[in-house]
């Protein structure tokens, strides 16, 4: 697991897993289709990513499919991260 995935996974667990919920969440766990994150609470995840990585994710790309696992979210962030020479 890369640094990016680690950071996103830690945020997802802190932000969305309630006390007493002992289900395992990995980088491939379905987040939205698995009922861990819903489209209503997804906004804070998008905002976290934009602030943390200084990026803008267009609404058209911030789909439930693109946010459905930590792995997919990391790939989305990589798409919009500035490329340094």
């Amino acid at each position: 697991m890369g640094d990016l995935e680690q950071v996103i996974l830690a945020y997802v667990k802190r932000e969305y897993i309630e006390d007493g919920d002992d289900r395992e969440v990995t980088v491939t766990t379905p987040l939205i289709s698995g009922g861990i994150v819903d489209s209503f609470s997804m906004v804070s995840l998008k905002r976290f990513l934009e602030k943390k990585y200084q990026i803008q994710i267009p609404d058209a790309d911030a789909t439930t499919a693109a946010f459905d696992s930590v792995q997919k979210i990391a790939a989305l962030v990589e798409r919009f991260r500035p490329v340094h020479a």
Partner: protein, 415 residues
């Protein structure tokens, strides 16, 4: 695009998919007034069956109360059937003003504005009072109408884990850079039946300078010692900035809703809320009925007292029988089944036993959280509940869910 064969076929497949997933909802046809016992035609065309109703929001048993009906009839005679107008053009009668004043007194607020429904109140309130300089911070289990209303508003949206005050505090700290913050919650949560920690929410709101909005639709009329709502129950009357609630549940059960709270916020809704500006006024007959409901509730607390007793008794019966129920005090008592098909099968079998309940599953509740949501009424007598638990035991035994918790039920039936 005309509605050609290909378009029709697309939607047919979509509907077939909903059926195959076990998520298709069917209507039942009630051929009586709403009461503790009703006549239900189901499936369509079947002979009407006499059943005990355990799934109405008729919490105080006032939906067909003769005094309410008579008051509504007088309202029809004296103020007519419909106004054919939105409020601000020619849709406001003296009785609308009277009802708004009475609701203000009942809820302990500064002002009140009627809406065609609480759904409309929730759709309109946020957009009317907040802008993109502000933030809405909502409990994750707020009603769908609040989610919709928040999406219509340009304020930033955020959410906190259900009833988690530590998480709410983090969010309030995070958003100190916004012009206004508003915390939004249900008073009594409609699917789980638990009560919001309004006293703690108000304390946090005061500490971090935030407004508080509560949808009290499943509380107005019966939560709190005199039925004023969740704010009375939590000892924070006068400290809630916006209350939205409905007249379509305990308060007569017809329709109508309102925004009640700070004078200026209510007036902003009167000036700007789209459902208020563009939707027809509450019909005079509804207003007249609601005024009588308030008369009844202000005379005595016997109905909400009886409801409280019924809720305690029903929870005791279900727990003793071995059902997995959500803990709580409200008259909303979810019987957890987790699997959507199981919820539908149990509801169907209970109907055959003369008990009317409905299975709740996705998208009404989250996937894997299917349940039967039982709801008590002051119209229920002890013998109704004793009869109901017999049926629940019989059906529970058939599906081998008695004495079983979440993991065991899921192991047997899947999610």
């Amino acid at each position: 695009m005309s509605y050609g064969t290909d378009v029709r076929e697309h939607y047919r497949k979509e509907l077939a998919g909903i059926r195959e997933a076990g998520l298709f909802k069917e209507e039942r046809y009630i051929r009586s007034v709403q009461a503790a016992e009703i006549e239900v035609e189901f499936p369509a065309g079947a002979a009407a069956k006499h059943v005990i109703n355990l799934c109405a929001n008729n919490y105080l048993g006032l939906s067909s109360h003769p005094e309410v009906v008579e008051a509504a009839r007088r309202g029809l005679d004296h103020r007519g059937y419909g106004m054919s107008s939105v409020r601000f053009i020619c849709g406001t009668q003296d009785i609308h003003r009277d009802l708004e004043k009475r609701l203000t007194g009942f809820l302990g607020t500064e002002d009140t504005l009627l809406f065609p429904s609480c759904m409309d109140a929730n759709a309109g309130v946020f957009e009317a009072i907040l802008t993109d300089q502000d933030v809405l911070i909502a409990d994750r289990l707020v009603h769908a109408s609040i989610v919709d209303g928040m999406r219509l508003c340009k304020a930033m949206q955020d959410t906190f884990k259900h009833s988690d005050m530590a998480h709410l505090e983090e969010k309030l700290q995070e958003h100190q850079d916004k012009r206004f913050r508003m915390v939004v919650t249900d008073g009594v949560f409609s699917m789980d039946g638990d009560i919001a920690k309004l006293d703690e929410i108000v304390a946090l709101a005061e500490k971090y300078r935030a407004m508080v909005c509560v949808d009290d639709s499943h509380a107005t009329g019966f939560i709190g010692k005199t039925g004023r709502g969740t704010h009375e129950h939590c000892g924070v009357v006068g400290k809630i900035d916006v209350i939205t609630t409905t007249l379509g549940k305990a308060m007569g059960g017809a329709s109508g809703g309102c925004v009640s709270g700070r004078t200026e916020l209510v007036e902003m809704c009167r000036q700007r809320a789209r459902p208020y500006l563009f939707s027809n006024t509450v019909a005079p007959v509804i207003v007249a009925g609601a005024l009588k409901v308030l008369d009844i509730l202000c005379q005595s607390t016997e109905r909400r007292d009886k409801l409280e007793w019924n809720a305690k008794y029903w929870r005791k019966l279900l727990t003793e029988a071995g059902f997995d129920i959500k803990e709580g005090e409200s008259p909303i008592v979810p019987v957890m089944l987790y699997n959507a098909k199981l919820a539908q099968d149990v509801a169907r079998d209970l109907f055959a036993e003369g008990i009317y309940v409905v299975g709740f599953f996705f998208p009404v509740v989250a996937k894997g959280q299917a349940r039967i949501r039982t709801q008590l009424s002051a119209a229920h007598e002890k013998h109704h509940l004793d009869r109901a638990i017999e049926a629940f035991r019989k059906v529970g035994k058939k599906y081998d869910i008695l004495g079983k918790g979440k993991n065991e039920i899921i192991a047997k039936y899947g999610l």
